[in-house]
Structure formats: C-alpha cells, structure tokens
C-alpha cells in the first residue's frame, strides 16, 4: 500500500464510521475549496460513487463567482443533494466584512448560518475538511469532535481517541464535527488531487502572476504571487515555500487567538 492509499484508507474508514453511527442525521460541509472537494471525492470512494447524504454550502454571499459556478456544476455532475444555507437575517441587516470586526462577520455569516441549518434539519454530525497542518489550533483536533448546543468546542476536555475507536455518545443538543482528512497536509492534498484527477476551482491556478492558496470570501482573501498554473506546478511551488497557507486570510490576523476563538464559537 503506498502512502496516498494509506491516507485515503484512513479517511474512508472515518467517513464510514460516521455514516454508520449517524445514519440519516449526517451531512457534509462543502466550502467548494480544495480540501472539502477532496473530502467530497473521498465520500464518493467510501460509497462506491454515491454521496448518500446532503452536502451543505454556507453561502455568505461574498464568495467568488467562480466558486458558485463550480459548486453548481459539480453538484449536477456528481448528483448529490445540495443545501445552500445563509444567515438571511444578518445579511438583510447589512452584515459584511467591512461592517466591523471580521471575527463578527465570520461568526454571523458562517458559524451562525451553519448553526441554523443544523438545527433546521436536525443533523447530529457534520463532516468537515479541516487539516491538522493548517493551524496550531487545528493540530489539536480529534477525528470525532463533540460540540454542545451552543456549538462550543470544549477543547480542554476532549475525549480520548485511541486505536480508531471514535467516541460518538451524544448528549442532548450535542452534535459531532467529523474530520476525515485531518491527517492530510496541504501538499498531500495537491498530490492526491493530481493522482486522482479531482476537479478544483480555477482560482487556485495562477492568473496574471498570482493565485489563491486558500479561498473563501472575496474581501478577505488575497492572492499570492505565483506562476503555478497547473496542479504539478502548484506542487513544485509548495515544495519550496515557507509561507503559511492561510497567509492570505484576513480574519486570522486580527488577534493571536482569533482562530481559537472562532473555533471555540463553532467556526469550521
């Protein structure tokens, strides 16, 4: 078994565990970025081409046009149930990245939008495409991570996770965040995308000497200088880069512990 097959098998095992434990009450969060698109591909692997649960896209209304186009195209091609969720109330009030603290905008338009859709559908578990190497806080995540009714992450009291035995005991109003690609690095994702030929939004490819390394909302993402316009070139670029992946993400930079605050509040 080669290295990427090992990474893949681990993810497929986690996805199947989640499906077995939360059948009918499970959904996946898809940001349309490279990581959650890879996760979507792994879900298809786990169920032999099918995606047997809804796929949620949290729409802040500030995403790139390319992302909306890609989202709708893939949903059609791969044939899955797409739930588009927004915090309509806050959007109507004019919430946006320039209204105040970015932390508040992320909390309202992402975290609270997710909270609303989880409540509306009664989901008990959500698959997410986060990775340990993204951030020091994410490095401490479990594969199965319980969240309380307020979506709080009790990170000082995480349950043990030993030998692929994932805790799934559900207290009232709790839900689980499930992280099947936690062990992939950014470079692993790109090498796996190349190996499996997974479709990826064009924003990651260099256009006029710059590309996005991490994508989200238009106002909070900056491109990085790059000539890499193919997956192979992106891989070659990352092999020598010492910049961090989220360098272009504005919300991380307000305060040293923004990421921890966002995650403890239920951010993905």
């Amino acid at each position: 078994m080669d290295y990427y097959q090992a990474l893949e098998s681990k993810s497929v095992y986690v996805i199947r565990e989640a499906y077995q434990k939360f059948n009918g009450r499970i959904a996946m969060l898809w940001s349309v970025g490279k990581d959650s698109t890879t996760l979507l591909w792994l879900v298809r692997k786990a169920f032999f081409g099918e995606i047997p649960f809804p796929v949620i896209h949290i729409d802040t209304s500030y995403k790139f046009p390319e992302m909306y186009e890609f989202r709708d195209r893939l949903a059609k091609e791969w044939g899955f149930e797409l739930i588009v969720a927004s915090n309509d109330h806050q959007l109507a009030q004019g919430m946006g990245p320039s209204t105040g603290m970015k932390l508040d905008c992320c909390t309202e338009l992402k975290t609270n939008a997710l909270k609303q859709v989880v409540e509306r559908h009664g989901f008990q578990s959500i698959l997410l495409g986060i990775r340990r190497d993204e951030h020091g806080i994410r490095a401490k995540e479990r594969y199965f991570s319980p969240r309380d009714a307020e979506f709080q992450w009790d990170y000082e009291n995480q349950p043990a996770e030993v030998w692929d035995q994932y805790n799934s005991f559900l207290r009232e109003d709790e839900h689980y965040r499930i992280h099947p690609i936690l062990h992939f690095t950014e470079l692993d994702i790109w090498r796996y995308v190349q190996r499996e030929n997974i479709p990826i939004v064009d924003l990651y490819r260099s256009n006029n000497g710059a590309r996005y390394r991490s994508i989200g909302c238009v106002p909070c993402c900056s491109p990085v200088p790059s000539q890499a316009s193919t997956v192979a070139e992106i891989i070659a670029e990352l092999e020598t880069s010492t910049q961090s992946e989220r360098a272009g993400r504005a919300q991380d930079k307000e305060n040293l512990y923004t990421m921890q605050k966002l995650r403890s509040l239920g951010y993905m």
Binding site: M1, D2, Y3, Y4, Q5, A6, E8, S9, K10, V12, Y13, R16, E17, Y19, Q20, R44, K45, A46, F47, F48, G49, E50, R132, D133, H135, G136, I137, A139, K140, R142, Y155, E156, Q158, P159, A160, E161, V162, W163, Q165, N167, F169, H183, T185, R191, Q194, R195, E196, N197, A232, I235, T242, Q243, S244, A247, L256, Y257, Q260
Partner: protein
C-alpha cells in the same frame, strides 16, 4: 485516470514519532527546536511564536509553536496532544507532542497511538520522575518498540558527562522493567540546540550521534504478512448486492478465497473486491479500506462486528485475560462497560485482579477500584462472543478500548 508514477516513487511515507516524558522536561520545546533547526518552521508561525513569547514575557518560547491554546501559553503547559509535520534531510516526519500532566493522560494516549517510535525525555537536573515511568509503561502497552531517550537540559548541569552517564543508567533500567530497551540515549539541550541536528561544542566528550540522526535511523516494518482479518464495519446494499465494507487489519485477500465468518464460524467465498472509481480490485492488502461481496454467506452473519478470517484463526470467547490502563473517571470492580475491539462492541464487566500505578509498579493498590493514571491486570467478561488475536502478532485485533458511561475511559491489550 491520470497516472503520475514519477511523483509516487518520490513520495516517502511520513514517519510518526511521539514525544513523551514528565511535566516540564521540555517536550514541546524540543519539537519547536526540531522544526526551527531543520528549517521547516514556517516564517509566519515563527513570528507568531516570537510575538506571543514577548506578550507573555518569555524568551523565545519554542513550545508555543505547538501550545497554540491561549490557556496553554499563559500557563506555560501543554493541555492537549498536537501534531506537526517537518522534514529532515532524509525523510518527512509527523511529530506528536503530548502533555506531561497526569490529568491529561488521555491526551497522551491519544497522541501515542498514532506513533511508530517515541522519544522519552528526561530532565538532566530532575532525572526520572513519575510521568517518565507512566509514559514508558504506556509506550510498552501501545506497542511502540523503538524508544529513544533524550537527556534534556544538559546546559543546566554544566554539560557534565558523569551526570549524563548516571541518567543513562537509570533510564535504561526503567525501560528494561517494561521490556523495552532504548534505541539510543542522547544528551541534548532543546533550548540551546545542543546535539539536536548537529554535534555540540559544549559536549566534546559526546560520541553519540545527534538526536536527528538517531531518529533518521529508526525503521518500522508493518506486519503485512499475517493471517487475513477483516472486521466488518458496515453493510451496504447496492444494485441488489450486499457489500461488506471495512479495512483489512492483517494479511490480504483475493476473489475466490474461502473465509470464516467469526464468531459463528460459517464459511463463505469472497466473490469480488470493490473499489471506486475502478470497479473491481484483484486483491485487498493490509490497511486498505475496501468492499467485499461474498457467496454462500447467511445475511445474519455479515453484520458490523463479524470478523472475516482465514489462515490461522483468531481466538473467540467471552472471557479474556487482559492488561488495562485507565484514563478517564474511575471504575469500580463489576461496573458495566462496552469493550470495543476493531468494529466489535460487546457489553461486559471487568474483574480487576491486580491494580497498580505504572509510576510505582511495585506497590499494589486495592483491587476494587481503578483511577486515572492507573493500570490493572484483569479478566474481561463479555455478554456476547468476542474475536481477538495475540497483540504481539496482530496488534489491530489484540487491543481494545473500554467505554464507561458512553465515554472512552480505558484501553488495554489481551494477554
């Protein structure tokens, strides 16, 4: 499918190493130092570390690279296990940092079970302490054979060789007690970078290779040759077929192979090995998550928890000798628990035979209770049959997790 054999050949597997040892013996600092000295600390994370060190009035605190929680930095401790990737000149690593405090021992176990080798840190001034013992014992239970001892803070003892030799003797004696022998014992100073990636001018007497070279020389061979074991994870219905999904935990299987369905013992034949996007695979090997279809199998014996086996058959029964370790809450002799071994889950009880604290293995504790940080030799009694193997031959089927009140509270190995 786009094939890229060139890339595949160059990709080396990431080697996972866990860093263990007593509180404040320098685990997180060592990890930060390894990243910095090998040039793999991303410039942003380095700057964030410097800024945070400054805000908490410390010298450049390498531990902050991993201790990312605000509480961890304020209190200067590690609460939860963390993982970080870096590369030596030879190969990529994932370093698993673990907390040294007893109350966070479940986080240490969580981290350790991903590792293939371990570094056990011993503070040159304090020597072997309580958690040094407990962590060493846990490594032996988790099944980690390659343990490298690093005697840290050599700067604090004037880089004296005699002190190092003393500690080397005591570390070797400690590991021997638990059936382990160190791959190497290395004198280092994580804070000052002595003997980490290159030799140290402060220890001209030292003829032991730097820690990074020692780690680069560790090798791990997975048990790929072995009797076939496939614990059924779930059963999917697709196009009128029953697909058994799961992961091959030992050996390999091909279409046409005859397998036993345990614990009941029925026999069936493997028809197809399913994957995606390719429809069928010629073989499924150790570690692969696949789907199998069977012929001649009764639907009743192909549910989650059934173990498909061929070759030498595993044990099955309802009473097993075991050694357990407790990391959450406490257990009173006779309480109901769930035993989880691979995809099996059975209700049962634990009869505690001999309770001890691995930090003081000689002192026996009362046999009616086991608490966080303690261990026991015991008998597991289950209500239904459980299938298991000798952990030294087939680790994935020889170990289990104990769930108490719905929470993973202990772990163990069958004897």
């Amino acid at each position: 499918m786009q094939q890229t054999p060139m890339v595949e050949e160059q990709i080396q597997s990431v080697f996972p190493i866990v860093i263990t040892g007593h509180v404040d013996h320098g685990k997180s600092t060592l990890v930060g130092r390894l990243l910095y000295d090998t040039g793999t600390l991303q410039s942003e994370r380095y700057q964030e570390m410097v800024q945070s060190s400054c805000e908490t009035s410390r010298e450049d605190e390498f531990a902050f690279v991993l201790d990312a929680f605000e509480e961890e930095r304020r209190r200067g401790i590690t609460i939860d296990t963390s993982q970080i990737f870096f590369s030596s000149k030879l190969r990529p690593y994932v370093i698993i940092d673990t907390p040294g405090h007893r109350e966070f021992i479940r986080n240490m176990v969580t981290g350790a079970c991903y590792a293939k080798a371990a570094v056990l840190l011993v503070d040159a001034t304090e020597g072997v302490q309580e958690q040094t013992y407990r962590h060493a014992w846990l490594l032996s239970i988790v099944g980690i054979r390659d343990v490298c001892v690093a005697v840290n803070k050599m700067d604090a003892v004037g880089y004296r060789e005699e002190r190092f030799q003393e500690l080397r003797t005591s570390a070797e004696a400690l590991l021997e007690k638990f059936g382990l022998s160190p791959s190497a014992v290395v004198p280092i100073s994580a804070r000052h970078g002595d003997n980490i990636v290159g030799p140290s001018d402060n220890m001209p007497w030292c003829r032991i290779a730097p820690l990074m070279d020692v780690l680069d020389n560790l090798h791990y061979t997975p048990i790929e040759e072995g009797a076939f074991r496939f614990p059924v994870q779930d059963v999917y219905q697709k196009s009128g077929e029953r697909i058994l999904v799961g992961r091959v935990e030992s050996g390999s299987v091909r279409p046409g192979d005859k397998v036993r369905l345990l614990p009941r013992g029925d026999q069936a034949t493997v028809e197809k090995i399913l994957s995606f996007p390719e429809e069928c695979a010629p073989c499924a090997r150790y570690g692969e998550a696949v789907g199998l279809t069977l012929s001649g199998a009764d639907a009743a014996v192909t549910a989650r928890g059934t173990v498909l086996a061929h070759g030498e058959l595993p044990r099955h029964g309802s009473s097993f000798a075991a050694t357990i370790f407790w990391f959450f809450g406490e257990y009173s002799d006779g309480d109901a628990v769930t035993i989880r071994c691979a995809t099996q889950a059975v209700e049962g009880t634990i009869a505690l035979r001999q309770v001890f604290d691995p930090a003081q293995p000689e002192a026996e504790l009362p046999c009616d209770l086991i608490c966080v940080g303690e261990a026991a030799h015991c008998t597991i009694e289950t209500r239904g049959d459980l299938v298991c193997d000798d952990p030294s031959l087939l680790p994935e089927m020889g170990r289990f997790v104990v769930e108490h009140d719905g929470i993973p509270a202990g772990a163990g190995i069958f004897r």
